[in-house]
């Protein structure tokens, strides 16, 4: 127990001290570097800890994954593009891809839309903290607990039986028959029901980041517009929204990636059955059930390729940001 407490103290005091000492140390190191070279060397020293950790935890395994995607199940022989051909020619994979597209579009739209709505609206009420906490709450719940909560929300009993699922009890009040929410494949209703669970969880994420950006807007700017006779909608459209765009891009990009990686909710609530499968769950199945590392790796590489266009969009935006600041 004592050892644990010492570790805890080191963790809280020592770790930040080491990090601050590091960055202060870089300037001392730079003293021996010729003046002209300093701007060339300095950024790499500042990025060194980040690049080292990223290299170790993400790049190194990813390189291994890319290599494995061109190899057979056991990783003993090269198979060229075979794993990718399997992916393209596989109905399950294409159905999962289609579902991921639904996730990507609607999860992003819902979380960013509601996040923006809540952030802007609660900015104007006195009970802002309480309101934000309640929207944020679902994110603080573990995935397992969230899936239990929503299994109760969607619970289905045959018509006539007592409905203990919240949603079916609610529509029962209006005389409607209960719906097996997670089993209806028409119009991908079950996938939408899963997207709703994630929306419920992740709207708080969008809200917190958008709210942080909102609070960074110079209040004098808004006051000036109001004094000039702009109504609240004009203030939002003309000033607040344009200033929030960079933040909305960050939140959207993060949510698109979250949608591409959607796994836990699908895994715990439907296991990908009844046409609700997604790419990440497919990868999990290939990796841990079929033990086919080649195919699982190919799926991971497909995910990686899927975000290339989004990243190019981000580069363009950062160039624009630098041009105006």
């Amino acid at each position: 127990m004592d050892e644990r407490v010492i570790t805890a103290i080191f963790a809280v005091v020592g770790v930040p001290a080491v990090l601050v000492a590091y960055i202060w140390g870089t300037e001392q190191v730079l003293r021996v570097v010729p003046e002209a070279m300093k701007p060339r060397v300095r950024p790499w020293l500042w990025m060194l800890p980040a690049l080292a950790l990223l290299g170790l935890f993400l790049v190194y395994p990813m390189v291994g994954t890319i290599i494995a995607s061109f190899q057979n199940t056991a990783g003993t022989a090269w198979v060229g593009l075979e794993n990718y051909q399997w992916f393209v020619g596989n109905n399950d994979a294409l159905s999962a891809l289609k579902n991921n597209l639904l996730w990507l579009v609607f999860l992003t739209l819902f979380t960013v839309g509601f996040g923006l709505l809540v952030a802007v609206l609660v900015d104007r009420v006195r009970y802002e903290t309480v309101a934000k906490s309640l929207i944020f709450l679902p994110l603080a719940i573990s995935m397992v607990a969230a899936s239990v909560i929503w299994l109760y929300m969607y619970l289905y009993k045959p018509p006539g039986a007592v409905q203990i699922g919240t949603l079916n009890a609610a529509i029962g009040v209006f005389g409607l028959d209960p719906i097996a929410w997670l089993q209806v494949e028409d119009f991908s209703l079950n996938t939408f029901m899963l997207i709703i669970v994630m929306t419920w969880m992740w709207t708080g994420f969008g809200m917190v980041i958008i709210s942080a950006a909102l609070k960074g807007i110079n209040p004098e700017l808004l006051e000036a517009a109001r004094v000039d006779g702009a109504n609240e909608w004009q203030v939002f459209k003309g000033i607040i929204f344009p200033l929030l765009v960079p933040t909305l891009v960050v939140v959207s990009t993060t949510m698109i990636i979250t949608a591409l990686k959607a796994f836990d909710i699908v895994f715990t609530m439907t296991s990908g059955n009844l046409n609700t499968d997604v790419i990440a769950n497919l990868m999990y199945k290939e990796m841990f059930r079929a033990n086919d590392f080649g195919r699982a790796s190919a799926i991971a590489v497909v995910l990686l390729l899927a975000i290339v266009p989004i990243m190019f969009f981000n580069i363009g935006r950062f160039r624009a940001q630098e041009a105006v600041r």
Partner: protein, 297 residues
């Protein structure tokens, strides 16, 4: 919806009382509706966590709100009464605090370099860093675990701190770079002219002006680490069970008793308390005016 809304947080005598009040009604209705919709699922679990399992499995949670009342603390008593829960709680703290602090520092250094230092390949490198967000965690576990075993740090707190830092960095750098990059150029230029070193500019200007973004980042990173089960299980798991966090004991609660989902509600609320404290504590940094007039519109 925002059309009619007028700010009500500060008295503004020039706006007629009627307009403000009318704007308020629409605003409050929408906000309250959203809050209620968002709260219902959690509230249902909260009510059920105080009901005996037999009741919770046979009637809807709302029946518990009407007499005859059958509330019980049994579920909570069972969770708190688990052996090791105190140690696991402490472990969760020991894991979560550095695993939140380290990525924020490391990401802030990198984000500052990406925002305010010129070097060739900057944008490409940045895109690669953010692109790493998409790397599936599952694909990294085995190669990393092998490395940890070779270095002899498998099972240690250091291993999990570093792992959470690595996994959290792409988002942390992305968020902070976006925020720091939008700070006004003049501030940094005039500091440099006054002879401030980059380290001084970083600690005296960039960090204080990025406080809302850092607070947001701290909330999320803490939350993700606190709720993490996978990373802890893999990197600590077998090597040193004494170092396992709270999430593991909660997971065991459910599986080992076969079902046991009645305890899950109680466990979920107990383990949620600390993230909520962090949220409330950092909430006060989301106030207008920290950046003040220094960010141009």
């Amino acid at each position: 919806m925002t059309a009619a809304a007028t700010p009500i947080e500060e008295p503004r005598p020039k706006v007629s009382r009627f307009r403000r009040w009318r704007g308020g009604i629409g605003l409050h209705t929408v906000v309250l509706a959203l809050i209620i919709i968002w709260a219902i699922p959690t509230f249902g679990l909260l009510v059920n966590s105080f009901r005996p399992a037999a009741d919770a499995n046979s009637t809807g949670w709302w029946t518990g709100l009407f007499p005859p009342y059958h509330f019980t603390l049994e579920n909570y008593a069972h969770v708190v009464g688990q052996s090791n829960i105190g140690t696991n709680f402490l472990n969760s703290l020991i894991i979560s605090i550095p695993a939140t602090v380290i990525p924020i520092f490391v990401a802030a250094f990198a984000a500052y370099a990406f925002s305010w230092m010129e070097f060739p390949g900057r944008n490409i490198l940045f895109v690669v860093v953010v692109g790493l967000l998409v790397v599936p965690l599952q694909a990294t576990l085995i190669p990393i675990l092998k490395l940890f075993a070779t270095w002899g740090i498998a099972g240690s707190f250091l291993a999990v701190w570093l792992a959470h830092t690595g996994y959290g960095l792409p988002f942390a750098i992305y968020l902070l770079r976006n925020f720091m990059g939008s700070l006004p150029k003049e501030v940094f230029e005039s500091a440099a002219i006054d002879g401030a070193s980059p380290v001084t500019s970083f600690f005296r200007l960039a960090i204080p002006m990025s406080v809302p973004a850092i607070a947001a980042l701290a909330i999320f990173q803490f939350l993700f680490v606190w709720n993490d089960l996978l990373v802890a299980l893999i990197y600590i798991g077998i090597a040193s069970p004494d170092n396992l966090p709270l999430t593991v004991s909660i997971a065991n609660l459910v599986t080992s008793t076969g079902g046991g989902s009645e305890f899950l509600g109680a466990a979920a609320f107990l383990s949620m308390l600390l993230p909520l404290v962090v949220f409330f504590a950092l909430q006060r940094y989301f106030v207008r005016g920290i950046v003040g007039g220094s960010v141009k519109g």
